[in-house]
Amino acid sequence: MTAVDVAAPARTARRRRSGRANGLTATSGLGLGVSVIWFSLLVLIPLSAVLVKTSEGGWSGFWTTISNEQTAAALRLTVGQALLVTVVNVFMGTLIAWVLVRDEFFGKRALEVVIDIPFALPTIVAGLVLLSLYGANSPVGVNVANTRTSVFVAFLFVTLPFVVRTVQPVLAELDADVEEAAASLGASRFTIFRRIILPALVPAISAGAALSFARAISEYGSLVLLSGNLPLRTEVTSVRMLSYIENGDLASASAVATILLLVALVVIVALDVIQRRVSRRG
C-alpha cells in the first residue's frame, strides 16, 4: 500500500493547491538543512560511494565484471523473470483491483489484508512459507525448489501489491456517468472497458508495473532458502552481489550494484514523469 502511494496517481491528481506554499523561515531552513544532511549521510553519500567504487575500476573493470559468465547469467535470469512477473502482474493486478472495486462479496476485507501481506512479511519468512507449500515436502505435490520457477514464484509473491494498489484508487474514482452513457449508446462491456476504462487506468498500471519490476530485480531475502542459489542456473543478481561482498570483492559488487541502481533511478524518473502527466491532465 505505502510503496504504492509513492506513485498513486489518483492522489496526485486529487492534489489541489490548498493555500500558498511559503518560502523558508529561519526555523524551517534549519530543519531543511538538518534533514538534508541526515538524508545525505544515510542515503546519498553511501549510494554515490557505490558509483565511485565502480568508476575506480574504469570501464574495462566494469565490463569484465558484468561479462563474467556467472554474473551475466544471474543478470539475465533476474531481468527475464522480473519482466515475466511484471507482465503477469499487469493482468492479475488489474483484475484483482477490478474485483476489489467493482464487486461486493463476503470476505472482501480479508482479501484486502491478504494483498498487503507480501508487503509487510519479512522476505526471509516469505521464502520460508513458499518453500513449505512449493518445496520438497509440498502438500500439493509441487516441488519448484532450486529451479528457475522458484525465482518466478518468489518474485510473484513479493510484487503482488504494487499494480493492485496503484490501480485500485484510480478505478474507484472513475466517473460512472461516462460508462453509463457509453452503455446507453449501445457499447458492449468489452468496448466500454477498452475505450473508456482502460485508457484511464494506463498511467496507474504502468506505474505499478515499474514498481513491481524494480522490486523484483532487487529481491534477495525470499530467494535465499527457496531458489538454492545454484550458479548459472538459479542464482539471481542480489545473491551474486552478496557472494562478491562476502569474498571481499567490493569493486565487482559495486559494478553489479551500479546496474541495479541505474534501473532504480530509471524507474523513479519514469514514475515522476507519469505522475506529472496525470496531474496535469487532472
Binding site: 505505502t2 510503496a3 502511494d5 509513492v6 492522489r11 492534489r15 489541489r16 490548498s18 493555500g19 511559503n22 518560502g23 530543519g31 531543511l32 534533514s35 538534508v36 538524508f39 544515510l42 546519498l44 553519500i45 553511501p46 549510494l47 557505490v50 492479475m92 483484475l95 484483482i96 464487486d103 462479496f105 482479501l111 489484508v113 501481506i117 509487510a120 512479511l121 519479512p122 522476505t123 526471509i124 519468512v125 520460508l128 512459507v129 513449505s132 509473491f157 503482488l160 466517473d175 460512472a176 453509463e180 452503455a183 446507453s184 462491456r189 532487487s218 534477495y220 532458502l225 542480489s238 552481489m241 552478496l242 561482498i245 567490493l250 559495486s254 541495479l260 533511478l265 524507474v267 523513479i268
Partner: protein, 299 residues
C-alpha cells in the same frame, strides 16, 4: 476543510455501474455479466489463496504441529531470544528516527517552497526501489571500519558502525525511510493551510499551531506510517545481514536467525521464529486496515 467537503460527492467510488447498468439490458446479457463477475471473483480468490493465504497459513500450521513445543524450543534458545531482542531494539530506534525526520521532511515538502524540492521529493523514494544488498554494500563502502570513507575516522573516535548495532539501525532506517513520508504528505496536502493560518492569525505560535492544529489532522497518517515502518523494520534482512556481519549472539537479528536455524536443520525453531515475525507483520497490516476506513470516513 470546507472545500474538502464540497468536493466530496465527486469522489464517491463509481460502484453502482456494475449493479445499476445491467437492469436496463436484456436478460441474456445480465446472465453473462453475472457469470463474468463470478469468474473474476473465482480467479482472484484462487490466485490469492495459492500465492499468499495458503503459504502464509502453513507457517502457523508448521509451528503448532506439536503444540507449543516448537515455540518453547525456540524461545529457550539464547541465540534466538537475543536475536528477537536485538530486532525489537533496532526496529524501535529506526522507527523513532523515521518518525521525527519523516514528519519534518513531509512538512517541508508540503508547506514550503525551496530549490531542489522536486529532486528531494523524488530521491526520498529511492530506498523503496534499491535492493537491500545494494543498501548494505553502500553503507559498508562509507562506514566500513577498515577502508570505508568515514569508517576509519569514526572507529578512531571509538564508534564502530559496521558489524555493530549502529550499522543495523542505519540499514533498517534506510529501507523504511519513505514509509512515514509517503503516508503523511498526501494528507498534509489535502488538509490545506486555512486552519493553520487562522490559528496563526489568532496569535498561536508555530509550536502551538503544529501541536493543536496540524498534528491532529495528520495523526492517523502518522500512525499508519509508523505501523508500516515497524513491520518493515522488524523484517529487514538483506541490508542488515551485510552490515551486521551476522554474528550469532552479537549482531544477528531475528530474520538472520530464521535463515541460520533453517540451514542448520533446526526447522522447528526456524518456523517458530518465522511465525513470530509473520504474526507481528500480519497484525500490523490488520491494524492499518481497521484504522484506515474509519479515518477516511471521518475525513
Amino acid at each position: 476543510m470546507a472545500d474538502v467537503l464540497a468536493t466530496r460527492p465527486d469522489r464517491q467510488p463509481a460502484l453502482p455501474v456494475g449493479i445499476a447498468a445491467p437492469r436496463r439490458r436484456r436478460p441474456r446479457r445480465r446472465a453473462r455479466s453475472v457469470l463474468l463477475t463470478w469468474l473474476f471473483r473465482l480467479i482472484v480468490v484462487t490466485y490469492l489463496f495459492f500465492l499468499v493465504a495458503w503459504p502464509v497459513s502453513l507457517v502457523a500450521q508448521k509451528t503448532f504441529e506439536d503444540g507449543f513445543s516448537a515455540l518453547d524450543t525456540a524461545l529457550s534458545d539464547p541465540s534466538i531470544t537475543f536475536a528477537l531482542k536485538l530486532t525489537v531494539i533496532v526496529a524501535l530506534q529506526a522507527v523513532l528516527i523515521n518518525l521525527v525526520f519523516g514528519v519534518g521532511i513531509s512538512l517541508l515538502l508540503v508547506r514550503y517552497e525551496f530549490r531542489g524540492k522536486r529532486l528531494l521529493s523524488a530521491l526520498i523514494d529511492l530506498p523503496l526501489s534499491v535492493s537491500p544488498v545494494v543498501v548494505g554494500l553502500a553503507l559498508v563502502l562509507v562506514y566500513g571500519g577498515r577502508d570505508g570513507w568515514f569508517g576509519p575516522a569514526l572507529q578512531d573516535a571509538g564508534f564502530q558502525v559496521i558489524f555493530a548495532t549502529p550499522g543495523i539501525v542505519m540499514a533498517t532506517t534506510f529501507v523504511s525511510l519513505p514509509l512515514v513520508i509517503r503516508e503523511v504528505v498526501p494528507v498534509l496536502t489535502e488538509i490545506g493551510t486555512e486552519q493553520e493560518q487562522a490559528a496563526r492569525s489568532l496569535g498561536a505560535n508555530a509550536a502551538q499551531t503544529f501541536r493543536r492544529i496540524t498534528l491532529p489532522g495528520i495523526k492517523w497518517a502518522v500512525v499508519y506510517g509508523v505501523v508500516l515502518s515497524l513491520a518493515r523494520s522488524l523484517g529487514e534482512f538483506g541490508a542488515a545481514k551485510i552490515v551486521s556481519g551476522n554474528f550469532e549472539g552479537q549482531t544477528q537479528t531475528a530474520t538472520m536467525a530464521v535463515e541460520q536455524k533453517y540451514q542448520d536443520f533446526q526447522q522447528a525453531s526456524a518456523y517458530a521464529t518465522a511465525f513470530l515475525l509473520a504474526a507481528v507483520s500480519v497484525a500490523c497490516i490488520v491494524v492499518v486496515s481497521i484504522i484506515r476506513p474509519k479515518q477516511e470516513r471521518k475525513r
